[in-house]
Symmetry: C2
Subunit: 306 residues, 2 copies
C-alpha cells in the first residue's frame, strides 16, 4: 500500500474495498445523519443506526433517504443507545462505534464498560489527521482531545496508537516528532525529558514501527529549513508524519490553529480500544465527520486483519 497523502486518497482507498459496519449511538441528528447518508451512498461504510426510530425516520426523510437501506435499532433511551452501539461491536455485528448526538462522557462510559466495553486495558487516545495547505502529507496530531497530561507510560501507548493509525494509512515507518518548546533537553521542561526518553526507547526497540525523535519544536518538526538552521541531525525533523504534543492544552491550541488559521481539512478518531471509535463533536461539519469515518474504516480493517 502506498502512503495516503491526502483525504481524497483516503476516501478513494476506502471505497475500493468491502465496507465495514459502523454502529452509531444517538443517530437522530441532522449533521450525523448527513454524514451517514453520504458515507453509505459513497460505499464508504455500512451502518447500524441506534436511536428513537420515529425520530431517525423523520430526519432521514428530510434528507430524502430511506432507512430501509441501513440497519436500524429502535432505542428511545439516549444513554442506552451508546451501550447498544458498543455492544454491537462487542458482539461483532459492527466494527466501529460512532458517537452521535450524545454527551461524550456518557458515550465513553459505554465504550469503557467493564463487561461489554471495548477497552483492552490500554490507553485510548485521540488522533486528529490534518491536511494542511502547503504540507506534503497528512499529519497526525495526538493527543489533543482525551488525555490531559499523560505520563511517560501513557505517552508510549499514545505513540503506539498513532503508529497504528499511520500504518493504516499506508505510512509504513512514520516519522514521529515529540514536540516541546525547544529542541534541547531542559530539566526545567518535563516534556523535553520525556521526549528524550521516548526517543531512546524507540532506538532500543521498546517502541517499534516508527522513527521517533524529540524534543523538537514545531518548526523543526515540519520544516527542513528550520531544522537545518538549528543544525539538528534527525531522520524525523522537517518531515514529521506524527506530532505528539506534551499536553492537552498545546494539542487543542494546535488543532484549532490548524483549523481556523491554516484552513486545514481534518478528520479524527479515538484509537486504543478493540475497535476504532469515531468521536466527532457537534461543531465538526459534515465533511469532517465523513473523513473521520473513512479513517476509522481503514483503522478497523487493519485491526481486523490482525
Amino acid at each position: 500500500m502506498t502512503p495516503l497523502r491526502h483525504f481524497d486518497q483516503v476516501i478513494n482507498s476506502v471505497k475500493a474495498n468491502e465496507p465495514v459496519t459502523i454502529a452509531v449511538a444517538a443517530a437522530a441528528d441532522h449533521h450525523v445523519m448527513e454524514a451517514v447518508i453520504d458515507a453509505h451512498q459513497q460505499g464508504i461504510a455500512r451502518f447500524i443506526l441506534i436511536d428513537d426510530q420515529e425520530k431517525m425516520e423523520r430526519i432521514a426523510a428530510h434528507h430524502s433517504f430511506s432507512l430501509t437501506d441501513v440497519e436500524v435499532m429502535h432505542q428511545p433511551e439516549l444513554t442506552q443507545t451508546a451501550r447498544d452501539a458498543v455492544r454491537a461491536v462487542h458482539d461483532r455485528k459492527a466494527n466501529i462505534v460512532m458517537k452521535g448526538m450524545i454527551q461524550t462522557a456518557d458515550f465513553l462510559r459505554a465504550v469503557l464498560h467493564k463487561e461489554y466495553g471495548l477497552a483492552k486495558g490500554g490507553v485510548l487516545s485521540h488522533i486528529a489527521a490534518f491536511q494542511i495547505p502547503g504540507y506534503d502529507r497528512l499529519v497526525l496530531v495526538t493527543d489533543s482531545g482525551l488525555n490531559i497530561a499523560p505520563t511517560l507510560k501513557e505517552k508510549v501507548q499514545i505513540i503506539e496508537n498513532a503508529i497504528s493509525l499511520s500504518h493504516s494509512i499506508g505510512v509504513r515507518e512514520p516519522k514521529v516528532a515529540l514536540l516541546g518548546a525547544i529542541e534541547l533537553v531542559n530539566p526545567n521542561m518535563p516534556a523535553t525529558m520525556d521526549a528524550a526518553v521516548l526517543t531512546q526507547m524507540n532506538r532500543r526497540g521498546q517502541i517499534r514501527g516508527a522513527l521517533i525523535d524529540g524534543p523538537l519544536a514545531l518548526d523543526n518538526a515540519i520544516s527542513l529549513a528550520a531544522a537545518e538552521q538549528k543544525g539538528i541531525e534527525s531522520e524525523v525533523a522537517g518531515m514529521a508524519d506524527v506530532l505528539v504534543v506534551p499536553n492537552i492544552e498545546s494539542g487543542n491550541i494546535l488543532y484549532k490553529s490548524l483549523s481556523y488559521f491554516a484552513h486545514s481539512q481534518i478528520g479524527s478518531l479515538v484509537v486504543g480500544a478493540s475497535a476504532p471509535v469515531v468521536l466527532t463533536s457537534r461543531s465538526d461539519g459534515h465533511q469532517n465527520k465523513l473523513r473521520s469515518i473513512a479513517l476509522a474504516v481503514l483503522q478497523a480493517r487493519q485491526q481486523l486483519s490482525k
Copy 2:
C-alpha cells in the same frame, strides 16, 4: 490614538514621531545590521551599536552603510557588549536594549543584573504580535518564549505586560482571552482554574485596563461563530486582542503554527523591565526584526511618558 491593526500602521505610527534610541549588544552580524540600517534609514529608531568596531565597520560597508551615521561603542568582549548595552539604558543614553549575535542567556543575565540591570522586581515576559491573514487585528500571544510554567501570580504580571503593550499599539481596553483546552472550568485542568480566577480578579479591579475572560479554547477566543455555537456569553470571545497561553509548550507551538502554517507576520519583544527588550532570534528574518524594533519603540514611548 486609534488602534493599530496592521504592522504597516505600526511602522508608520513610529515614523511619525521623534525616534528613541536602541542600544544593540553584539551588533556585528549581517541580519542584525540589516535591520538596524533599515530602521535607521526609515527613521524608526536611533542606534548605539556595541561590538568590535572593525567587525561592525566591515559588515556595515558590506551593506553600503557608513557607521558615522550612528553611535558606535567599541567592545571586543562579547558578553561585555550586553552589559554595555544594558548600562546605556540604565544611564538613560538609550531607551531600548536589543540582543544581537549573543546567547540569550548571556544577554538576559546582563538585563537582570542586580546593580545596573533593568528588572523592576517584576516578571519579564515575552510577547509576540501576529498579523494573521484573515484576522482583523494584531493578536498578542504571551508567553511563548520566557516563562515555562507560570504560577497564577506570574500570570497576573504576564497579563499586565500584555495589557501595557496593547495600550502602546492604541488598543485602549484589550480583550484578553485566557486559553485552555476547553471553555469549561475543569478541576483536572489547572489552566482552566487559573483562567477562572484571573477573570474574576479582572472583574474585581485587581487587573485593570482590559477585559479578561477565560478559560476559552482558541476557536472560542478568535471566532464569533465558534463562540456562539458553544453558547458562550463573553465580551472577549471571538474578538481577542491578547491570547494568554497556559504554558510555554502551547505558546511555542501556537507561535510556530501561526508562522509556518498560517503565514503570519510577526514581531516580538520582552516587556516587564524598565525598558523594552528586543530579543529576536537568529532565525527571525530582517522584517521580523524591524517589526520588533517598531513595537519596542511604541512601548518605550509609552513607558517614557509615565
